[in-house]
Every structure is written in structure tokens, then in C-alpha cells.
């Protein structure tokens, strides 16, 4: 029983990471109806930038905030410069552009920051194991950060005018323009926000898996699985999905398929969800009447 609880707790902790990246993915989707394959690479780059700030002597939370700001700007720039020119192009072009960005950003990160694995500090050091030995201070802290980000995002999208405008711009850009919404600005904001959230995920996961240019690829896959499981248009659902995937992955890895095949668990989940219930466990099924 103890071992099971340990796996469960570890699953929840890693699930928190997946949940934050899933949140970034869903954010982009809410704002643009696109799924950004390069999300992980952008998050990794942000994490390296954070490390640079920290090594330059800034206190952790100042570096954290600065990284959020820089990531936001990066995301908005990517939208303006790379996504905007192809916004009316067919899906194949969009997929190609995401792949292109994945290649460029991922490799650029390696080139600029080097390929050696680096240690990334956690702001939650100094506690021993918590919760009766189930979680470390960092794991608990990162789950807390994830939930905090989620709450803020949820409130933003549902309660604020700007959040509503962003959703409207994604669902129906034509009608959004007719009520005066600057759709182009909304798209850039959406990407910026998603990049910022991704950077949070990167900074939370780096202390655990150590920082190198390939850090996020596997995580991205789990995050996709989580976002799909919870419903691609549903931020709280995506977060729940992320946690669920973390738990499933850990338990399956421990008891069913062995640790080498854990990534395949993500694959199975993705396929299963898309085939059985494409709107996810909590996604809204949209009704349309002419």
C-alpha cells in the first residue's frame, strides 16, 4: 500500500507539470484554434533564460517574473512574425510552420546554451519530505503553483472582458471584429500568455529532470494527452487531464508496462481519447443550429 501511495503521489506531482503545459496548449487553442507543436521548445528556451537571470544574480522570484515577461513577448512576436503571414493558409502549412519552429527554437537553444545538462534551482528548497514522506517540498510547491496559475487563467477567461474577447476572437473572428474587437491583437496576446504559462511549467519541471535542450519533448506528449483527455477547449479540464495522465503514467509504468514504455501510455491515451470521445472527458460538445 505504501508503494502504491508513493507512486500515486509521484504521479500527482509529475501530473502537475503536465497540467501546466496542458494549460498552455489549451490557452493557445482557445485563443487561436491551433495546437502549437513547438510549445515545449519554447518553454525550454524560457527556462534557460530564467537560468541566465538567476546566474546573473537576480533573486529567484524576480528572475521568475522577468522570465514570464520575456516569454510573453516571445510568444507575441512568434504570432506576429511567423503565424500571422500564414493565418489563411491550409492546415498542412500550419503544421509545417509549427514543425519548423520546433526545429529552429529547439536547436537554437542548444546552440546558444550548450547541450550539457544543467542544474536548475527550486524556490521550495529546505523542507524535508512532506505529506508523510510522499512528496518533496518542491513537488508540493509546483503543484501549488500550477493550481494557482490555473485559477488565475480560469478567472481571466471567464470573468474579464479581455478574456471573453480573446475567446470570441478565436471562435468567430468575423463577428468579433463586428463588435469592435481587435482580433489581431487578441491572437498575439493569446500566444504571449501561452508562452508565459509554458515558461512556468519549464521552471517547475527543470529542478526535477534537470535542464537540457531536450527536456520538454516527452513532457509535451504527456501534456497533449492530458489536454485531449480533459477537453481541448476547457482549461480546468485540461489541468485535470494533466494530473490524470501523470497518475496513469506512473501507475501503468509501475504495474503494467514497465518504465520503458511509459511514453507509449501517452500515445495510447491520445489515440483512445480521440477515437472514443474527441471532446474529452470534460469538454463541451458544441451545438450548432442554423
Amino acid at each position: 500500500m505504501d508503494a502504491f501511495l508513493l507512486q500515486l503521489a509521484a504521479g500527482i506531482a509529475t501530473g502537475g507539470i503536465y497540467a501546466s503545459v496542458a494549460l498552455a496548449i489549451v490557452m493557445i487553442y482557445q485563443a487561436t484554434h491551433h495546437v502549437n507543436f513547438a510549445q515545449g521548445e519554447m518553454a525550454t528556451l524560457s527556462t534557460f533564460i530564467a537560468l541566465t537571470f538567476i546566474q546573473a544574480g537576480f533573486p529567484y522570484w524576480v528572475a521568475f517574473g522577468a522570465t514570464l515577461a520575456v516569454s510573453f513577448v516571445m510568444g507575441a512576436l512568434v504570432e506576429r512574425l511567423i503565424m500571422r503571414p500564414v493565418q489563411h493558409a491550409p492546415i498542412l502549412t500550419h503544421v509545417g510552420v509549427y514543425i519548423g519552429m520546433l526545429l529552429i527554437i529547439g536547436n537554437l537553444t542548444g546552440w546558444v546554451f550548450g547541450y550539457t545538462t544543467k542544474v536548475f534551482p527550486s524556490p521550495f528548497e529546505g523542507g524535508g519530505p512532506m505529506l508523510g514522506g510522499l512528496l518533496s517540498a518542491h513537488q508540493l510547491g509546483s503543484v501549488g503553483v500550477t493550481l494557482g496559475v490555473l485559477v488565475l487563467v480560469y478567472l481571466f477567461f471567464t470573468k474579464t472582458s479581455l478574456g471573453l474577447a480573446m475567446r470570441a476572437a478565436a471562435y468567430n473572428p468575423r463577428s468579433a471584429r463586428l463588435v469592435g474587437i481587435r482580433v489581431d491583437v487578441m491572437l498575439a496576446l493569446g500566444w504571449g500568455l501561452a508562452a508565459a504559462i509554458g515558461s512556468v511549467a519549464g521552471m517547475m519541471v527543470a529542478p526535477i529532470v534537470f535542464l537540457d535542450p531536450n527536456m520538454m519533448l516527452g513532457i509535451l506528449l504527456y501534456a497533449f494527452a492530458g489536454a485531449l483527455l480533459g477537453g481541448i477547449d476547457n482549461p480546468p479540464g485540461a489541468v485535470a487531464g494533466g494530473f490524470l495522465v501523470g497518475v496513469l503514467e506512473n501507475l501503468a509504468g509501475a504495474y503494467i508496462v514497465g518504465t520503458e514504455l511509459k511514453l507509449s501510455v501517452a500515445l495510447v491515451i491520445i489515440i483512445g481519447v480521440l477515437v472514443l470521445k474527441p471532446s474529452g472527458l470534460f469538454g463541451r460538445v458544441v451545438f450548432s443550429r442554423v
Partner: protein
């Protein structure tokens, strides 16, 4: 700004050339294809062999993604399956290479069909996502301990490229490398012929109609489901055959040769060479093989960055790829409207 042409590319191609003209092009093509046998030494010939193989793999991808609009970012998986089937049969069961080819083709075709079935329910982005996940998961699966007995696990399997047959060596002095090139060329040519026949006929038009106007296609009575799953099967088969050839040419298979980067390379090759273009697949293969080699001499990160930049530049500026450019230049020269 379209990476996919709205009207079938081949219908807009040159009007029926005279038989003599066609014959001349064919002879030229044959000469160009066979010349390397005398001109190139072993290593460069090997590279060209791989270029032929990769172009065949890109052709496979083009059938399902370029012509039929089903975005696959996981074709590296089919390549890997073809390679491993051949490697296992040759290394563990002592089969001859030629016998493994139809086997690899059949298995890849079946797997392709099996992937095509759930793919029916997924559209553009989701399918890309799922196939992308497939591509990432394949190396892991290949390394799994349960299959180690057959796959050789992380270390992989060694095999030998087929020896030139006696009746050939009796007449001509030909090394195994040269023979391998010839073999790859012949198999690729056959597959290209098959694809070309498929595309310019009714089936090709059906594939493209399904890609561009699915509702209209269905309303006209086309069995979309059958079409799409079969497209996947044929596509997987062709890429799988390419994989089989690569196993023999390289004489080695290992999980790390088939990471998701392979799938991405095939995709980039398809876009750069020319989406929905037979000729484009040839350019794509050349691109996939030679650009990384050149780039790697610059720096370790360079291939990826250069790939990415070229991909994006092509998507912005040359959405119909090198083949499209060539087509337009030739048409301009010939005085016809492009």
C-alpha cells in the same frame, strides 16, 4: 499561400507531349540515373543510394499527405517497420533480401491500413498530433525488453547487403555497393511507376477530390472511408519498402536510427520537394539526404535550425516546393502559361 494546390497538379501539367519527346526525357533520365555507377566511388554512391531510398520514402508520405490531405508526422514508423522486418528476417531467419521485400511491403501495408482506420475519425491537426506521438513513441517501443530477442534491443541488428547474382557478375564487374544502388533504383522506379499510374488515373483524382472537397466528394458517391484507409495502406507500404531497402544498404538497424526526427525529415522533404508531386519526391529525397550532411559540418545545431528555416521559408515563399518552381520555369521557357 497554399501548400496544397486546389486543382490536381498533374491535370495542369504539360499537355500531352509527343512520344518522341517522352522517349527523349526517359533516355535522359536513364542516363542520369545510371551514370553514377561509373562516375562515383563507393561512399558517394552509397549516399546516392540513400537519396534514392529517401525519395521513395517521401513518395509514400506524399501519397497520403500530399495527395490525400491526411497529415502524417509519423511516417518514420512505417520506415522503421519495413527496415526491421527485413533485418529480422535476414539476420534471425536467414531469408534472402528479395524474399523479405514483399513481406515488408505487406506488413507495412496492413499496419498502414490499421492506422488509417482510426485516422478516419480525426481531422487535420488531431491526426498530425497522433502520428507525431507515434513517431516519438516508436524508438521506445523498439528498445523494449520484451521484443529484444527479435529486435536486438538497443544494440540493433547487423545484416549484409545482397550479393550481386552470379549471372550478372559473370558478364560485368560489379561491386555489392553498385549492385545495391541498381537494386534501389529498380525497386524505386517500380514503385514510382505504380504511384504515377495511380495518381494520374481515377484514383488520383478521387484522392485529391477527397482532400479538397470532402463533402462534395461524398455526395458524389465516393466511398471516402475506403479511399482514405487504402491511401494510408499504400503510402505505408511504399515507405516501408524504402525502409527495407535502407536496412540492406546500411547493413544495420537500431532504434535510434528511427527517432521522430526521421518523420520530421520526411515531412520537410515532402514540403521542400513539392507537395503532391511525383517529381517533388525526388527532390525531397535529395534534400533529406544531403542538406543535413552539409549542415552538420557547420555545427551540431545547424542541421535542425537550417531545416527549420528552410521549411518555413518554403512554406511562406515556395509552397509548391522545388518541383513547383521547376514546373513554372519550364512552362515559362516553353512559352505556355504556368
Amino acid at each position: 499561400m497554399s501548400a496544397i494546390q486546389e486543382t490536381p497538379g498533374l491535370a495542369a501539367a504539360a499537355p500531352r507531349a509527343s512520344v518522341a519527346r517522352r522517349g527523349a526525357w526517359l533516355a535522359l533520365g536513364l542516363a542520369v540515373a545510371l551514370a553514377p555507377l561509373w562516375l562515383l566511388e563507393s561512399f558517394h554512391l552509397f549516399q546516392l543510394t540513400m537519396a534514392v531510398i529517401m525519395s521513395l520514402a517521401v513518395l509514400g508520405l506524399n501519397i497520403v499527405t500530399g495527395y490525400n490531405g491526411q497529415i502524417s508526422l509519423g511516417h518514420g514508423a512505417f520506415f522503421a517497420i519495413g527496415a526491421y522486418v527485413t533485418a529480422i528476417l535476414m539476420a534471425q531467419a536467414d531469408w534472402s533480401f528479395y524474399a523479405t521485400l514483399p513481406f515488408a511491403a505487406a506488413i507495412c501495408g496492413m499496419v498502414g491500413y490499421a492506422v488509417g482506420l482510426p485516422a478516419l475519425r480525426l481531422g487535420g491537426l488531431y491526426l498530425a498530433l497522433v502520428t507525431f506521438s507515434l513517431a516519438v513513441a516508436v524508438p521506445q517501443l523498439l528498445k523494449h525488453r520484451a521484443l529484444e530477442g527479435w529486435t536486438g534491443g538497443v544494440q540493433g541488428l547487423f545484416l549484409m547487403k545482397p550479393e550481386p547474382p552470379a549471372w550478372l557478375t559473370a558478364r560485368v564487374a560489379i561491386t555489392p555497393d553498385q549492385f545495391m544502388y541498381l537494386l534501389a533504383l529498380v525497386v524505386a522506379a517500380l514503385c514510382y511507376l505504380l504511384a504515377w499510374n495511380l495518381i494520374r488515373g481515377r484514383i488520383g483524382r478521387a484522392l485529391m477530390a477527397t482532400r479538397d472537397h470532402p463533402t462534395a466528394a461524398e455526395a458524389m458517391g465516393m466511398d471516402i472511408a475506403a479511399l482514405k484507409t487504402r491511401a494510408f495502406a499504400v503510402s505505408a507500404m511504399i515507405t516501408g519498402v524504402a525502409g527495407a531497402l535502407s536496412a540492406a544498404a546500411v547493413e544495420f538497424v537500431a532504434p535510434d536510427s528511427f527517432t521522430f526526427l526521421l518523420s520530421i525529415s520526411l515531412f520537410v522533404g515532402m514540403v521542400v520537394g513539392g507537395v503532391a508531386s511525383i517529381l517533388g519526391s525526388v527532390f525531397g529525397g535529395l534534400f533529406v539526404l544531403f542538406v543535413p550532411n552539409i549542415a552538420e559540418s557547420i555545427s551540431r545545431a545547424a542541421p535542425g535550425v537550417i531545416y527549420g528555416i528552410i521549411l518555413i521559408v518554403f512554406l511562406f515563399v515556395l509552397p509548391d516546393g522545388v518541383a513547383g518552381l521547376v514546373r513554372r520555369v519550364l512552362a515559362r521557357l516553353g512559352g505556355r502559361a504556368p
